[in-house]
Amino acid sequence: MKQIKWALVIASTLLWGACTDNETPTTEVTITVEMPEVMRTGTSPEGLTIEITNVGNGRTYSGETDPSGAFNSIVEEGVYNIVVSGEKSYTSAIGADQFEQTVTLKGLVENISISGSWMESEVALFIAPASSGWVFKELYVTGSQTPEGKSYYKDKYFEIYNNSNEVLYADGLSLGESDHTTSSALNIWADLINDHFVTQVVYTVPGGGSDYPVQPGESIILADVAIDHRNDNTQSYDLSTANFEWYDDHVLDVDVPEIPNLIKNFSASASIWTPHNRGFKSYVIFKPEGSMESYLANNMIEKQNANGSTSIRYKVANSIILDAVEMGTPSDFQSKALSAALDLSYINCGDGDDSRYGKVVRRKIQTIENGRVIYMDTNHSAVDFLSTVSPKPGVIE
């Protein structure tokens, strides 16, 4: 009986789908890309990939720009996201010296309503930052569940990977979590977004500059509590080999002496910090240009709360951010915390439901060079990351 019911449901959906397909009006759309200012002269806008995705049904139209930088397509009416990407070479000059550079270009227009018989739209392109070498390999923000269905969340961690071909030092590397929640419609920091990221925590790897070398192809794990959590919750993981812990000097937290602590340079909470349990926040790693003291002294901002009070947050210049990942869920994502230059899209772990527990988002492997894994980093997390997969802390494969 059940199968028959399902068959009916599927059949009726197909029929309905078929009917409506014929009836949806279409629009001829012309999308023109606008090259970054430094590349306006002498670089052809031809051959860039354009992807137009219908937000409602996920249907995608793609193609390449013509010599004038335009792309034509006939799409059904609806709300769309337009993503442009590609690589271009250009010549820049510093004084008398000229440099030939190959850069990645990106562009994004979100939630544009396409309707009418004909429509034109422009997408401004920008130069995506070259990968620094440090990337988030795994983000475990949702925590796990015990076999009894109760929440267990002191097993969260972030794994950060040396994606370059040289030794990098983790000393001074700082972790930040966005103040903005991507499920809210309004980002109160929208005015700052092109230049700054606003964080509610700054946890920093200790060291004098060369204390914590990380070889190419290796990673470090920043964990909440670095123990083998399987002893307390059979559905959790072994984090006893984590490299650092974020410890909050509070009666609710524990300090594992085997593992060094991150420096709690800033936290908006005097209690303990745990990353957003449904994955509605965005994460960055950064290194201030000068000392941490001068960073802390010069980047404090105050957040105005609805009840008339204020609270403290920190801003991080986009230029010092080494890697950034926007997180949200399809059901609740409303607005970005990160500049599109840092992350064009977002990645989800589950959809706010129980499927998120015990799962991570992990970067995809782009290639393996002489046995060294290179993770994909196009600053487009929807493409770069695997969503809702089982954690593999410390495993590079």
């Binding site: 109760k150 609710l252 002496p257 085997e258």
Partner: protein, 873 residues
Amino acid sequence: MVAIGIKETNQWLYTNSEGRFKFTTLPPSPFSLQIRCLGYQTLEISIIELPTEFQTITLHTQNLNIQEITVTATEKQGESGTSVIDQQAMQHLQPSGFGDLLELLPGYRWEAQDLSQTSTIKLRQAGDDANTALGTAFYIDGIPLTPDAELQGNNLSSGDLKLSGRLNAGQGIDLRSLATDDIERVEIIRGLPSVKYGNLSTGAVILNRKWGASPLNFRAKADLKNKVLALNKGFTLKEHSSTLNLSTEILSYKADPRNPLENYMRSQSTLKYARNIEIGDGSLIIKGGLDFLATIDREKEDPELNYGLTDTYKHKRNKTGINLQTELSLPGTWNKNTTFKTAVDYSQNKLTRERMVSLTGPQPQPIATTTGKSDALYLPTQYMAWFERDDQPLNTFTSLDFNLARAWDSLRLNISTGAEWRNHRNLGQGDRFDPRRPISPGQGGRPYNFSKIPTLHNLGAYIETELSILLGKHQIKLRPGVRLSSMTGLSQNYAINGIVYDDWRTQATYSFSGRTLNEKPVRFALHTAWGQLSRMPNMVHLYPQEKYRDIVELNYFSQNPDLRRLYVLTTVEDVRNYDLKPARNLKKEIGMELRIGTASLSVTAFEEEMQNGIVAASSYKAQQYDYYEPSSVSPENLDGPPALSLFSKEVRSNLFSYTQYTNGATLIKRGIEYQLQTPKISSLHTRISISGAWFKTCYDISLPEYIDRSFYYGGKEYPYVGVFNTSFSQSQDKALHNTNLQADTHLTQHRLLLSLSLQTTWYEKRQYVPYNGTPVAYLDNHGIYHTYNQADASDPMLRLLQRSFTPYHFDEQKTAIDLGINLKVRKEIGDNLSFAFYVNRLLNYLPEYQSYTGATVIRNKQPYFGIELKLTI
């Protein structure tokens, strides 16, 4: 058994089995005779000339077959701001409990009662507050109902114990516990109560229950959330000299009819016995009562979310009361009355909770109960926890009152004096749980035994003189009095112990009567009142549980469980405030009243000022401790928990907050109340009543406010706490203006009563007291107090203590008009059956308006309806 009284001399007696009565001494006429009997309209007869022969006085039963009927609250003549709600008015409201009656007070309107949370009274104010609720005394048949011995113990997670909104200690009487079916008459003294009423700072609610013979009454009521069943009967025993009343009521409330897991239940039963003994010309009345009250706040675990059905929750309250009073009346030239009352009530409130606690990860659990440093343990991540709160308030009350009255031709004198002793104790074992396996880990709670708290003794005495001077058509009445109150039995540390507080109260009335207008008697009166009121603190204010502060000095959670060590500094903070004083209020009012026949108009203006209301205020204290750096000792070479001496140590100091009850709340109430009643317009069979009030209430906290920015900076907690001289969260002015217009159409021949009530809130206003946000001082993490000066405002760290506000934060917030129509219909079918229903918020006018933030506020109210059946056999 009908009670007959002479109002002027407070002389009361009962009729004999044939319904006859005899006063052997009478005051000079004119005087008033008041006749009261359960189930009948109270009758007042003015005796101008004494009749020479037997007269028959006919009493009318309380039904819709009679001409004049009042279903609104009426103002009591010659008293300051007192609303009287009688049987008819109560029956017409179709109440589920006492809370439903409050819409009859000027300035208030119908509000849906949420019985899933405690509810307290508000009087003559916009907004509400604990001092008003605590300061309103409730008397049932002259015996005070006291919440003084109720305790709430630990500051444990109220969410997990499902206590959010269900704890009432220190907040006054929970209105949910008062049923209305056994109540004959309610007087709510909004103005100045007589000095006979004590231990109050706001007003008084006087509930008179049903005494005397009556048929069997049965009432069944249902509305969207409530179901009520009530049954009562009064029997006559031994040839009219004694009566027995039985009454029982059950209420069941569901906050959300779709949620069977949460509900409130109340069950009340009463047995009352009264006997009248004639002693010569005098009489002795003996009354005794036995009361049972059970209430259940139930919230069950959803079995689908409760793994293995391990979690349980129960919360029951049972109250048993017994009371006895004797009243001896001896008439004569000086009429004498002596009343002795004694009452005991005992409650058993028990909350039990079992729960499987599943931690989000490893966590320390400090358990020390004395100040000092000690080793503690880490909690297992999963365990079964149990919790029990055993609260057993026991209250006794004893009083002796004496009244002496005499009437001369143009002078009447009434002297009252009395003394009372109230005794409050809690016999409960308090909060019991295993501190090593707490039900809410991380909350820092410890067991607390309520029965160790000493008994509170409240003593009171008063004397009052009422003098009336008659000068033809003019009458002047003066009522000065003083009440002394004191609290004893506390330790000598308490400043309040043994101190006698005196409250002086006086009331003066001028009235003019004797003229007629269109053959209707005219009476005009002016009254004024001035008085002081004191409310003693409760047990919960005087004996709060100590605050336990746990600071982890060493948190060595090695991956090897054998090497773990947790070392904790526990400080036990005595948060009792030995300087706590009674909350004192000064009330003033002036009013006028005009009556022409059955029409009346009254207007009262009042002002109340309380400067030392009780409030829980937070303060900060510095605590120095040692911090042992876990990473300074490697676990590698250890074979057991490490010695403290191995660690590198740092002396740290931090500020910690604690709350204490303090006399810091200021409450200023001002307002004007008005009431107008037309006579019955015979062509329409309709009577119109208008009642309303404008209130302006200022709430303020006169204590410094401490603001902790609570964030981490450079590896350390932000070290300062700002001190502000204005409480910007709690200092606010509120105002409201409300008018209810009610048209009662009474078709006598059809025994039908139909009411339309148009209830209008013209506006509600709220405004925070403007403040620039600069602190006056700050505390550093060593607890040192620094004045905040101009240079600090530019210091990179200290500047953060300043507060900035949104531009509209201090603007007035004003709501638009809210108009709703309520309909009530009552129909009697014969003498035995009556049927009623109501629809509140039947029609609404709720225009959209702009809030002070600029947002558009869209309001919506749903109709609320109920139905009732009443049977009299």
